[in-house]
Each structure stands twice: as structure tokens, then as C-alpha cells.
Amino acid sequence: MKKTEDLTSKKENPYAALFTHWGIEAKQVKEVCPTDMDLSLNYRRGYVVLTEEGLYVFSAPQQLKRLDMTDKKPQPLDDNSEYVFYSTDSITRLSVESQVACVSLVAQIDGAERILAVTSECNAAKMRHLARLVTLEEEEHNGNFHGKPDRPMHSGRGGFGRPPMDAPKGKGAGFKSRMGQFARLMGFFKPYSIGVVAVVFCFLATAVIGLISPYLNGKVLYGQVLEKNIGTSELEKAAGALLLTILAMLVVKIANSFFSSAHSLIVAKFVPRVIRDIKNKVFDAMSRLSISFYQSRETGTLMTRVLDDADQVTGMFIDNLPALMVDFVTVIVATAIMFALNPVLALAAIILLPISSILSYFIMPRLWMAYGRRHRAARKLNSGVNDNIVGARVVRAFGRQDDEKGRFASSNRLVRDAEVAIVDTDSKITAIFSAARELANMVVFATGACMIMTHTFGMDYALLITFTGYVGMLSGPIDTISMFMRQWVNCMNSAQRIFEIIDARPDVEESENPTHLENIKGEVELKRVCFAYDKGNPVLTDVSFKVKAGQMLGIVGRSGAGKSTLLNLISRLYDVDEGQVLIDGVDIRDVAMKDLRGLVAMVSQETYIFMGTVAENIAYARPDATPQQIIKAAKAASAHDFIMKLPDGYDTLIGTSGRQLSGGERQRLSIARAILTNPKILMLDEATAAVDTETEINIQQALSELIKGRTTISVAHRLSTLRDADSLVVIEEGKVVERGTHRQLIEKKGEYYRLANIQHQALKKRGLE
């Protein structure tokens, strides 16, 4: 046993004095670790005490009544506690082994391993410290294997508010196309037409009832009841009339509440369904689309589309549009009533309204611009924060925190400025509208008062009060109508994005009468294939080769030569521009998509882990796989061992919100995924690029088992990976420049020989080092 380390800390160990009862003096004690479990894993107080002589393992006579993990104070032991003593000489090694959620103290005593004590994670650090005192260089036994679970990290992706809507463009732009969209949007509501009608009816009912109110308050209450009955002797009659009027007002109020509640209820019933329908439709369309669609668009934008645009559109239809209808009706009916009651006063009331509308018409674009500016500023701010969270490691590694702070501050300032501009313009508009409203009120009052005093135009108090009620009703709707335009533009932008996805035609479409392949041998042939991602920038020109069933073809070439593109074409993620890709002599464009997908599997350099358990990820393409098959596939991919090292094994949650895996681990999972699908044609696109040499050789060996009886097309940087290939194709700038076996190509002393030499030299150099 190594010489024990002296306690460096001069501080009194708070636990040291607890053991005098058993003859252990405080100054003898080198370290104490409390334990809270016994060896049969029940909660029980205990201590592991390290002295110069050896190790005392104490255990309380009975189980703990209550284990308080928040209480870290030293607790004295019962006097009748017992201990086991292990002398320093008998212990050859002392180590702390991490379990999934507790630790155990294991000693090598007289040549055999013995478990001495167990404790919860609360004391794990202390226990490790104690063990370290015994063996200076702590070999944390099983260190790697029983590795502690890393706390799942929050990944920074997503969740940063939606990217802002495009700033509204000029009014009326593309108005016609918008009407077309509008009509299509209506289509989404078709299955719920009863609900829509009910909503509109409720809105209108509310509006009409609202219109009755001023009439009751003014004309009836003042004109009919109060004026006529004031000073008359028929008190009973007067009281009756008053009661009746109040009752009528009450009924109106109740009816009003009834309809608005009914409206909310109906909306709550069917709006979520419409949103769900739209989202489903967009998601269906997205699944149908070919891979090129995803590569030409940002993920963030796509997510906004599926999730937010549906809300935006539905909100427009359910809230804004009916409200607008009600407002229109209100304005027209109220104006009509006012004219019917007193045309002159009506004119006075509405004369100022156009003025405010015209003014707001000029200021409104400024408001829209301010909104647009805020959206852009916010977007910049969001992406800055996003960068810093996703790239936190890079930021710290290069010590750029201060610069990042500065960058954040400057975009934050932009947001503030834009916000101020919005508030500024907004308050101007509000001021104009309220000024117009107040002015209109005053004009009405003044004109009305004059009329009453001069007894002209049949004006009286009752009429005046009714009138002011209607004037008040006008201003609200006019505000909303002018605001409506902006919402309309937003909604139509959303609608446009939704339809863009729904209407997008997949580049790769299934043929109308697909051939169903049976008894496939797995022969792959490319005939004079040309392909370009963007027209005029060809990636592959005139590529032909043939892989016999069950053979392995290696594709070699510099990065960017078009190797991965070839695989994309064979798995039909893209269609060839010219030429043909044939499987067993059948053009893959004629093959049923489902057959093709079951036939071809690809392990690529890009690995994607879905949210779920390890087992679910491996069984992604075959959810019905048995645990045995999953383990077998994982073993074949050299993934089993690392999976078993995870505390939760195949049940470990991985993906966005789960445990983070390393590049090599992800790679091996995706290989396991491919292995499990048992494809006839296997494509490996730098399948082992992200793993270390030893793992690569492991995987290579696994693959060499796997490729038996399968057609394999393998793209690799490291030529050693392709040693077993039956034939090789060297691609340069989208053309096949050499083909043959490894031996033939080496003898040929061409491009392959050159590449092989470079790699050989590089390896040699490293070997010399």
C-alpha cells in the first residue's frame, strides 16, 4: 500500500470527534465519510473512518427513520453501533465505484475484492476523497465503464421565438393574388361551415344589440319615460314605465353577454381543429417533398411555417375578419340611424372622421416600417443569442466573450430604437384618433345644444344623448378598420408561405404505374449519368459504372468530386438530369418508392439522432424489431459496448433534449440503424469518418460481415477503408477517370496511385514521429 497522504487542511474535521466512544481519538482521524445506506441497500446511517491504522466501517444498529439529504450536519452514531476494521496493511487497493445513482466503496483485501460500504450520491465526492487519501493516484476502478451520467445538456437549438414575419410590404401589393389565397384559405374552414356561420351570427347579434343600447339610454329613457313623466301626477304609471325601460336595458345587456359567450365557446370548439388541419396538411406536404426542398431553406423558416403560420391565418379568420364585418355593419347602421334621427347633426358628427382616417393613412406606413425594423432587429438579436448558446464552446475556446457582449449590446440597442419608434408613431396615431373623437363629440354637443336652445331641427335632450352614444360607437370600428389592413398583409404572407409548401411539387415523384421489384439480386448500374444541383453547374457528367450483385464498389476522389452525389442519385433522393440509374436493369424512376427505400440503405457522414431512446433510434426504420435484433445490430455496428456503458443502456434518452452522444457514437448508431433494415444494397458514405482508427477497424470488420451477400457502394476518404472492394472507381470533377481493382490501379500509377501514395506518406510521417 502506498504511503498515505497527510491531511493538508488544518481545519478541524467536524466528524472527527464522533468516534471517541469506540476509542478513536479525534487526532487519529484522517478522514471521515458519512454513509446513508447499508449493504442491503436500505437507508441506514454509517461512517467510514480512515485512520493511520486502517479503515473503520461503522453501521448504525437500525435503519434510518428518515434520511434528509438536505441536512449536511454531522450526526452522532448510536453508542451501540458496530464497526468492521480493515487494517491498512491488508488493503491493497481502495476505490470508489460509481453506480447509476449511488456509489460503492470497494477494497482489494488479501487479494480479493470486497465491497465495504455503499452510499448515496450525496456523499460520493467525500467518499472519493477518502479513497484518494489511501491511494494517491486514484485508479477509479471502472472509471470509464460505470461512468457517471452526464447531466443532459440543454441544446441551444430552437426555442428562440419565431423568426419574425416578413415586414409588410406596401398596401395593395398583389391584392388580386391575395384574394385568390383568401378564397383558398376559406377552403380550410369548409368542414366547419356551421361553426363559421354561428360565429358570424353571434358577432352580428352582438353588433345589433350594441346598436340598441344608445337608443334605449337616450331616446327611450330620456325621451319617453323621464321627460314625459316628470312633473306628472301619475306616479304609478311613471314608475311602471321606468321599470319596464330598466328591464329592457337589462335584457339587452344579458343578450349581449349571451352572444359573446356563445361566440367564444364556438370559437374554442373549432378553431383548434382548423389549426390542426392546416398543420397536418403542411406537414404532410413537407414529408412528401424531396430532399432538395430542405436544403434550399433554413430549418428555422420551415418550423415557423408549420407551427406559426397556421395560427396566424386562423387568428385572422376567427378574430379579425368577423370583427371587421361587425365593425362595418356597426358604422353603416349607426350612421344610418343617426341620419334618420337628425341629418344635420349626423353630418356634424361624421364630418371629422374622414380627416382622421386620411391622417392615419399617411402615418400608418411609418408604423409598418417601424414594425418591420423591429422584426429585423429582433431577428438579429435572436440569431446572436442562438449563436452564443449553440457555439458556447467555440466562444469560450477563443475567449471572445467580451466581443460577443459588445455585439449583443449593439443589436440590443437596435431593438430598443425600433421599439421606441413604434411607441412614438403609435402614440401619434392614438393621439390623432382620440383628438378626432373628442372633437367630434364636442361638435355634436355644441351643434346639438344650439339646436335645443333655438328649438330648431326638432332637437331635444333625449335625441342628443342618443346621438353621443352613436358617435362613441363610431370611433372604435374606425380604428380597427384602419388597423385591419396590416393584419391582412401579415395573414396573407402566412397564407402564401403555407400554400408555397402545399403546392410545391416534389422534384422526385413516384411514377404512376410503379414496378414492384421481386426477388431482387441487387445489381446496380449507372448509364451515362449527368447531374447538377444548380443548372449550369454540373456535378456529374457522363458517369457510368456497374456493380454486380453482392459485390463491393469503392468510390474514390477528392472532396467535392461528386462522390456523395452519386449515392444520393442511387437512393433517389434526387433524379438524374440525363442518363439512367438501374437496379437489376429497371430504371429506379419506375420502381415503387416503398420498394426502393426497403432495398437501399445509406450510412452517411451526416447522422441524425431522433428524440427517443437508443433502442428506438436503432429501430427507426423497423419499429417492429425485437430487442434481440436491436442488440445484434448494435453489436454488428460496434455500438453495443458504448451503449452498455450508458447508465440506462438501450433505454437512454438521446436526441435534442436527451443525452449528447459523440460523433463516433452517433455514427455507430446510424450504422446499426442501417444494419437492422437488412438492405439488399448498402451505401456507405464516409461511414467511418468520425470514428477513431480502432473503432474504424472494428466497424470495418463488422461491415465486412454485413456486406456479405449485399451490393455495397462505399465512399471513403481513407483508401485503406476500401481495400476489400471488388472494384474501384476514381472520380475527379464529376467524371470517372480510372477504374479497376486496387492492384490494377496501383500498377497503373495514375490518380489512385498518387492518392494512395500521399496517404501512405502521411501515415508514415506520423509513424516516424
Binding site: 428518515r66 441536512d71 453506480q99 443502456g649
Partner: protein, 173 residues
């Protein structure tokens, strides 16, 4: 260009049964295994599916070196009771997770929650941090808590709790 690295065949699963292997309890509280002519003085037992299928597919591994897999137990329930129990004591340590049987209180403070509950291992108070990391919902009724230190606690069946307890728990799951 050929590098000489020998890698043993790791992709074949060897299945260990009570018939083809001998398990024995060691003095020190571990289990030794005799399998395919090799003697392993101490073996570790890891579950492949600790949460979803605890008794099937248990990996038996060397306890030192590279922790190579000795073999796999396909189903522990097919083992004789005494051997299964022996293995289970090893597994129970590795996957020590007290089951909560009764919730006394759950108190929030500063983004953490202190639970006081009865478990099958005794009464216990523990603290979890707010946020989703600390709570894993395995199903509608089965929940795993991980406290600030890394201790785990399990609620095996939420429906077995009283309505009042469920209401309290509902805030955290």
C-alpha cells in the same frame, strides 16, 4: 500500408444460461462466473433495458480492464431462483433507485423542490432542480426523479397515490 491491429470478434452475442455457466457468490460480496473455460473472479451485470425491460438482456462483463462482455443473459426469470437472486443483488446496487411509496410534502424554493417521502428503502428527503432534466416521464404513470446530487427515485405507478398526492406531483411532472 497494412497496419497490424488485431481486433477480436465482438459482434457475436454469446448467451449465458444457468446450464453453460457457473455463478458463485464471492467472499467480498460479488459474483464470480465460470464460462467457456474461463474463470472471472468478479463479473459486473448491466441491464440493456434498465427502464423498459429490467429482467431481459443483461450484459455480463469483466469487472476490470476493458470491461469486455463475457456474455448476455437473455432472461433472468429463466434462471434458478438462487442464482437469479445472487445476480439481482449485484444489479440492485448498480441500479439503486428507491421507489417512492408515499409523498409527505413537496416544497418549492428558489427554483428547486424539496420532496419528503416514504420509499421502499426508508423515509427520505431530497431536492430536485426545476426544469425538465430532473424528471423523466417513462409513461403516463411511471416517473423517475433525479435529485441535485444524482440520486434517483422512482414513482412506479402514479395512480397508486392519493388524489391529494397526485395533485401535488402534477406540478412537477
Amino acid at each position: 500500408m497494412s497496419e497490424i491491429i488485431t481486433v477480436e470478434n465482438t459482434f457475436e452475442t454469446k448467451y449465458i444460461t444457468a446450464q453453460n455457466a457457473t455463478f458463485e457468490k464471492t467472499e467480498g460480496g460479488f459474483v464470480s462466473v465460470q464460462f467457456e473455460g474461463n474463470f472471472y473472479p468478479r463479473a459486473d451485470f448491466c441491464r440493456a433495458f434498465p427502464l423498459s425491460a429490467p429482467d431481459v438482456y443483461i450484459s455480463v462483463r469483466e469487472s476490470s480492464g476493458k470491461h469486455r462482455e463475457i456474455g448476455m443473459i437473455e432472461n433472468l426469470l429463466e434462471f434458478p431462483q438462487d442464482i437469479a437472486d445472487m445476480i439481482r443483488t449485484q444489479i440492485n446496487l448498480r441500479y439503486f433507485t428507491p421507489k417512492i411509496t408515499k409523498l409527505h410534502s413537496a416544497v418549492d424554493a428558489n427554483g428547486t423542490t424539496t420532496f419528503d417521502c416514504d420509499t421502499d428503502k426508508g423515509r427520505c428527503t431530497f431536492v430536485i432542480r426545476g426544469g425538465s432534466d430532473a424528471v423523466i416521464r417513462l409513461s403516463d404513470t411511471r416517473i423517475i426523479f433525479t435529485d441535485v446530487d444524482g440520486n434517483r427515485f422512482e414513482i412506479a405507478d402514479l395512480t397508486k397515490f392519493t388524489r391529494r398526492e397526485q395533485k401535488k406531483l402534477d406540478l412537477y411532472i
